[in-house]
């Protein structure tokens, strides 16, 4: 088999990304969730249901269900592994740095705070795919916003 794929494809679809796509972490329903967000990208149909249990301004646990491309699903899977147990302040910071990385910020792409998420740095070179990588973080932002308002009550899906 000759290697037909061009180098940019290898840098986009790194093994770790494909591994998270095929074997997503923290996938499922979180029974004792305090907040849930359903987010969909209407132009491409990618969707994510993100559930968090927020306790004392920390993400005590989080899980997701989703359907979409390797980039959107690997990104949210990696996000869950990094944010579990972290403070909401940390989550905001990771979200901000990841967004900066998606917009081509090379410092952000070296930031150890982002952990495995740095393997997604190559997405920045594919403008039409950036929204895929950000879908999980968009859901996270919405969930944290919603949680500020309705902190103590379990909430149902947006839809």
């Amino acid at each position: 088999m000759i290697d037909r794929s061009t180098p940019p494809m290898k840098s986009l679809y790194q093994q770790l990304i494909l591994d998270h796509y095929r074997n997503p972490r923290n996938r499922g329903e979180l029974d004792d969730r305090t907040v849930e967000i359903h987010m969909r990208n209407p132009t491409c149909g990618d969707e994510i249901k993100l559930q968090l249990r927020i306790e004392d301004d920390r993400i005590a646990d989080l899980k997701f269900l989703g359907d979409g491309c390797s980039i959107s699903q690997a990104s949210v899977s990696m996000m869950t592994t990094i944010l579990k147990g972290r403070s909401l302040d940390d989550a905001h910071q990771v979200s901000r740095r990841f967004t900066e990385m998606m917009h081509g910020d090379e410092d952000a792409a070296r930031d150890s705070e982002l952990g495995n998420l740095r393997t997604l740095a190559g997405v920045a070179k594919f403008p039409v795919r950036i929204k895929c990588a950000l879908l999980g973080f968009d859901a996270l932002q919405e969930a944290m916003k919603k949680s500020r308002g309705e902190h103590d009550h379990p909430t149902e899906s947006e839809r």
């Binding site: 088999m1 037909r4 794929s5 494809m9 494909l18 491409c44």
Partner: protein
Amino acid sequence: MASPVIPPPAPAGERLDPEAVRGDFPVLHQEVNGRPLVYLDNAATSQTPVQVLDAISNYYRRDNANVHRGLHELSRRSTDAYEGARARVARWLGTDDAAEIIWTRGATEAINLVAHSWGLAHLEEGDEILLTEVEHHSNLVPWQMVARRTGARLRYLELDEHGQLELEPLAEILSGGRVKIAAVSHVSNALGTINPVAEIVGQVHSAGGVVLVDGAQGAAHAPVNVAELGADFYVCSGHKMCGPTGIGVLWGRRELLEEMPPYQGGGEMIDEVERDHSTWADLPHKFEAGTPNIAGAVAMAAALEYLEALGPERILAHEQHLVSRTLDALREIPGVRLFGPPDPAHRAGVVSFTMKGAHPHDIATILDSEGVAIRAGHHCAQLVMKRYGVSATARASFYLYNTDQEVDRLVAGLASVQEIFG
């Protein structure tokens, strides 16, 4: 199952030679990501030949003026060009009466015009609007909006496993006598299926209903004759058929259009304006409020000249040849699922597919990296996606300038997808 309304392909000896026309399409001659562009997203928009580009340019360089208003030479020329283009579309669609041709912004606006003008005037609570599962959102949402306003109910014909409409329930649906209008696509943008429109028209007419045919993917890829089709309304879109964006056509039977109220008010569409009311212009101007897309109309006529010279039968035959080559190659790839009729004779130039383990967006990105442009997503046909239990498909769609070698580039690109995701 009824046979397609589109005539059979021309004999093999009359095959269209895509190499002979590619020189007319400047956009095709470029590299994308270091490889010669292979443009296989024609169901979304087709490319534009120099003959059409020149028509736009010449119109603005020589004749540009508002139509039907000025008493000067340029206005006479622009009016002649605009009305001449209308007559050209009438001939293409097989009607002698150019006043039955209404210019619109596209197929979507044409459907909205009928849904709102005809629909709001004729539909009431308890009436039914017959749609199908294979429709593009542009032939669903306007009817949903009108149904909500009138209390009419939406009924659906469904798809079988091979992407063809099941007609068996049609008689039962029509037996209630409540279907006032059916809106059906000529050719599916998501699956490529050529729908049995003439048969549906016949049955709906027998039950006293009228039929709108969404020809956005029909008129572009095959000969159309509205008289033979028997429909009451037919809509199509310039940019799907070598013309520019922003121009489309509604054809309607004169007696229906005449009794329909205007869709939009403004200049051009009036006869007499008083303080508290106005009277309407005659057809077709009653439905053309405001300064129209004159250059677009002129360019669409140029596109029809171009297609006519090549021959609609030969264009369809060429597309079916490319579909056949693609289906044969994709059937050899493990994990590929094909959507739509297995027999290329039942489809126009669309191949929708998925690959196990690789999402359609990832397929499209990898192909794009090799210069091959396809569409991935729900194709504005979410009911089709739901019918087959997928959220998206990859779609290659062909037109008159695509070649066998380009099909082979698509297939080679899918080997790269397998290499990464397999």
